[in-house]
Subunit: 127 residues, 2 copies
């Protein structure tokens, strides 16, 4: 049986990329929506000023490698390093305030109950 496999740390760039790279690793159907597991690769990117992700599904994020700062609306920025995870509930507005520009930051994101394509800066209604 062939099952989906991969390595989150494979093929990392040596320099800075123009944009973040979002890669869906796998999806499973759930009757409430899908569970979509994604790798996010950041090389210094951050959410645009004033942009907030505002999702109607829960998102679990884990920093596998690197360094970032995540801001939940109404809170100070949280510094995240390897192993740090945050469960972001639906409707909790949040943004990526900073990612390390000197080395790749690799995130694992689990989108739980997503009902629509991912919202990205420049496309979302809050952009």
């Amino acid at each position: 049986m062939s099952v989906p496999v991969g390595n989150l740390l494979a093929g990392l760039p040596s320099g800075t990329l123009p944009d973040e790279i979002f890669t869906t690793l796998t999806e499973a159907a759930a009757s409430s929506g899908t569970v979509r597991i994604e790798r996010i690769l950041s090389t210094g990117q951050a959410s645009p000023d004033g942009f907030w992700y505002d999702q109607d599904w829960d998102e679990f994020v884990l920093v596998v490698q690197g360094a970032a700062r995540l801001q939940l609306e109404g809170e100070a920025e949280r510094a995240l390093g390897p192993g740090d995870w945050v469960m972001i509930p639906a409707r909790q507005r949040h943004r990526v305030a900073w990612t390390d520009p000197t080395a790749p930051t690799v995130w694992l994101a689990v989108h739980i109950g997503e009902k629509q394509p991912p919202e990205t800066p420049g496309q979302g209604e809050n952009a």
Copy 2:
């Protein structure tokens, strides 16, 4: 707003533990069952000889740190290291053939659509 947070690499033991430690990080309801995100800490443990996990839900596993060998029924063992992930479909029998006895192995597991308490060696019907 207080959200669930943690660090997968915090509080790792310096030696070998008698058993693996399974820690549920967070759960979200889905009408098809729950999505349960778990840290598994291994320090040399493996599934008992002849034991197979046989789950009726999909499980995504990621090795965050350490080294392990995962066997899917009918296949050779797969060596897993940091960043390696495998999406194990429901009903794909599998077992942990080996984990590094010299340093902690930290897994992230996402159980998708789990309908019953986790099956563990010694408690499952296949034990």
